[in-house]
Symmetry: C2
């Protein structure tokens, strides 16, 4: 089964496995397989798409198979959920963290282009820090944050401006 994923993905999987082990958690074959599919994907992947692909090698796979695995990966900070897409992406920071490091949560922001559908991930610490601080001032302690936006990526914005100019 080795070589099933890209070299980069396999490398990340190895690191993720080491991180889990260090935490007393197990990146089982199933979990590794699903994390691999997510990491290998160019864009966020839906649970049922993961299920379809999983079924190619695992006959009896059903929704709980996938959702339980996703819960595990989310808990371990190995993947993010993009709320607006109900889809999942790998968390590179989570997969490459120092096993001795403390926190499991890696703040990320997602930008979704309306036009081309592409999703850009940002890891702007300042953005999450400002939000965390504002929440704290309201007496609220954040366990996990969702920061996402829909709009136009630079390419599509340029194209839109161009179209407007021609009209």
């Amino acid at each position: 089964m080795a070589g099933e994923f890209s070299r980069r993905t396999e490398h990340l999987l190895d690191r993720a496995e080491a991180i889990c082990e260090h935490r007393g958690a197990k990146l089982t074959e199933l979990r590794r397989h699903i994390l691999g599919m997510i990491l290998d994907g160019a864009s966020p992947t839906g649970a049922y798409e993961l299920l379809d692909r999983l079924r190619q090698s695992r006959r009896g796979a059903a929704p709980p198979t996938v959702y339980r695995t996703l819960d595990f990966l989310l808990e371990q900070g190995l993947v993010h959920r993009v709320e607006r897409l109900s889809a999942f992406v790998g968390c590179i920071a989570g997969c490459t963290a120092d096993p001795d490091g403390a926190s499991h949560t890696h703040a990320a922001q997602f930008l979704i282009c309306r036009e081309c559908g592409r999703v850009v991930e940002m890891q702007d610490h300042h953005v999450s820090a400002v939000f965390t601080r504002a929440a704290k001032e309201a007496g609220f302690s954040i366990a996990s944050a969702t920061i996402e936006a829909e709009g136009l990526c630079s390419t599509c914005r340029t194209a839109a401006v161009e179209r407007a100019r021609v009209d």
Copy 2:
């Protein structure tokens, strides 16, 4: 039908109606009814809960009835969608905006308490501004942003600390 909602809600509905009219949009009876239910609710309301309540007065109501109306209200900036809850809350800023004012979008942040389920809405301009600027630096222009968090509200946090102390 007047007096169906709280005084405050009826007032907001009147303002929302004026705003729509000024924009050349119509806050029809159906739209007013659904917006009223949302504004009257203490916490975010799901589409199917709105549907159930709507059916008490409108026999043939079906999911599209509600979702189309929600689309309209979202477009007009009269309600927000809380992604993590798949639920809707009224946008006070949107309902009380100056009809001559420009933008329809009012940036809001939502804090959802894990313990008590309560949802706090913040309108911290700085938070959204920082996010918008960070996105812009990545070449991305934001049309609409989602900024939400799950965690503990001040009350539940205090209670949790108390419990920990006793143990």
